[in-house]
Amino acid sequence: MSMSIEAKLGLDVFKIDKERHITIDTEKCRTVCTIKACLWVCPANLYEVDDQGNHTVNYEGCLECGTCLISCDHRALEWHYPRGEYGVQYRMG
């Protein structure tokens, strides 16, 4: 019954905007942040560090809970809701 997180997100309806609603100030992640909580707090597991050591976020699968925003000590995230009619659309909620 266990599913990968990607498979779980695959069950949801997303209307993906080409405009990103989360941008990361990766300089802050690299220089000031020590704990890097975004890598494990996100319930959709969207944050990663790429080969160059930059933090990235796969905003397309965002559940819009705001946990990353609230958990970031260094205000490294510019985070707003996706534009109207974009983003996750829960059918149950």
Binding site: M1, S2, M3, I5, K8, L9, L11, D12, K15, I35, A37, W40, V41, C42, P43, A44, N45, L63, E64, C65, G66, T67, L69, I70, S71, H80, Y81, P82, R83, G84, E85, G87, V88, Q89, Y90, R91, M92, G93
Partner: protein
């Protein structure tokens, strides 16, 4: 600038409740919702306590799309290797009028939006409010895309993050120590299977909470709420704990670990997961509730910090609906006097204070920091289950007297200074 009587930012339960109250009295009210429909961005555990709000809009609830009335309350204390479940089957809860119902937000909120529109209110979906418009400190309307729309009063029901209101300086930004994150799966199961597994009669529902090893010592727990033909299965965990201690495990893996526990597997066996969702939850209590009103605006629902986690009862939607109702009453009275200044809207806070909303939050004032204690999620569930296991054990050795097993267990795990001090702290809640 185009102008209406009242703009409501956000078409969740708080905003729609306010809209219903205002539209019913003939006001020109415009709800702006960013989702494809009301409820598209909302998540509950969840259960709605109807008792406190039954007399608010009494004509509404008969037709509401509730899932099941909750007639059984279960709390499982999870230790390592043993857990103890307390199951309350109450005749009182099983007899109408039912005090609480399981709900799914996409269904409930869309239905309430329909009721608002039937009363003549406008619910505009697929539009995000980008900004609150202020003039000399007074909220005079909103900006959505290219459009500026003015209003006598703006009711801010934008949800728990409060992005617009904190940007406008009407409340502070959300802090991790005051919030939890909940995430859940909707698992479809046939109604008869749900009823068998939770010992329910046809149509009845259960709320099942799990405390202890499920969150690995972090503030929070697991939950199952039975819907009509599915269950809501999820985890709530305090953001500060998760941020500080969560490195041990990705948040989302807590739910998978929960599902794989041998005591959970038979409850969900054969089920099909059909949706995965997540939402932030305010748990800061009344001490951190922001100023609820000001010139030209009112804060309602989660934006106003009106939610309460009292461990075995978790509330928010009843507060949201009630705060929307009182916001509507306040606006109607302010309109009579033609005064939408802070002074003209002050009645809002007074009516919340004399209602169950702020009374219940006041009663629970000490809960947020009392339940911060990790021993509640580690030591106690473990100790209770160990004691119960000893009571029920027959081994190869001659048995001890029951009283000495109990007294021995209590002495070991409960009769100590730490527990005594914690008990004293508990008296405040």
């Amino acid at each position: 600038m185009e102008k209406v009587d009242c703009i409501i930012v956000g078409g969740g339960l708080a905003g729609l409740s306010a809209a219903y109250g205002l539209a019913s009295e003939g006001l020109e009210v415009m709800v702006i919702e960013r989702g494809d429909y009301s409820g598209a961005k909302n998540v509950t555990g969840g259960r709605l306590y109807l008792s406190p709000i039954r007399d608010i809009y009494p004509e509404l609830w008969e037709s509401a799309p509730f899932e099941r009335p909750v007639v059984r309350e279960l709390v499982t204390l999870m230790g390592d290797g043993a857990d103890t479940t307390i199951e309350l089957a109450s005749q009182k809860f099983a007899t109408p009028p039912h005090q609480s119902y399981t709900v799914l937000r996409a269904r409930l909120d869309q239905w309430l939006a329909d009721q608002v529109m039937e009363k003549g209110g406008m619910v505009i979906t697929k539009n995000r409010v980008d900004e609150l418009l202020l003039e000399n400190g007074k909220v005079i309307g909103i900006r959505a895309g290219e459009d500026d729309i003015g209003a006598d009063v703006t009711i801010i029901a934008e949800g728990v993050l409060g992005l617009l209101s904190s940007k406008a300086g009407l409340r502070s930004e959300p802090r991790p120590e005051d919030h939890a994150v909940g995430f859940k799966e909707i698992v479809e199961l046939p109604p008869a299977v749900i009823q068998d597994r939770w010992h329910l009669n046809d149509g009845e529902g259960a709320a099942h909470l799990f405390m202890g090893s499920v969150t690995r010592g972090m503030l929070g727990g697991g939950f199952i709420y039975t819907n009509k033909d599915s269950i809501s299965l999820g985890i709530v965990v305090g953001m500060e704990h998760l941020r500080r201690d969560g490195e041990k495990m990705d948040s989302w893996k807590l739910l998978d670990a929960f599902k794989e526990m041998p005591q959970i597997q038979p409850l969900i066996a054969g089920g099909t997961t059909v949706e995965y969702s997540a939402h932030a939850i305010y748990e800061g209590g009344i001490a951190k509730v922001p100023k609820l009103y000001g010139d030209g605006y009112l804060l309602v629902g989660d934006t106003a910090g009106l939610s309460l986690n009292a461990l075995v009862t978790v509330r928010g939607m009843d507060f949201a609906i009630a705060s929307g109702y009182y916001a509507a009453r306040t606006v109607l009275d302010a309109r009579q006097r033609g005064d939408f200044s802070a002074a003209g809207l002050a009645q809002y806070e007074q009516s919340l204070r004399s209602s169950f909303v702020l009374k219940d939050l006041e009663t629970a004032r000490e809960i947020p920091h009392t339940i911060e204690n990790p021993r509640l999620f580690t030591h106690y569930p473990q100790a209770v289950s160990r004691l119960m296991q000893d009571v029920f054990t027959i081994g190869p050795q001659p048995a001890k007297k029951l009283s000495s097993v109990v007294i021995g267990g209590v002495r070991k795990d409960f009769l100590n200074l730490t527990t005594f001090k914690e008990l004293l702290g508990m008296r405040k809640i």
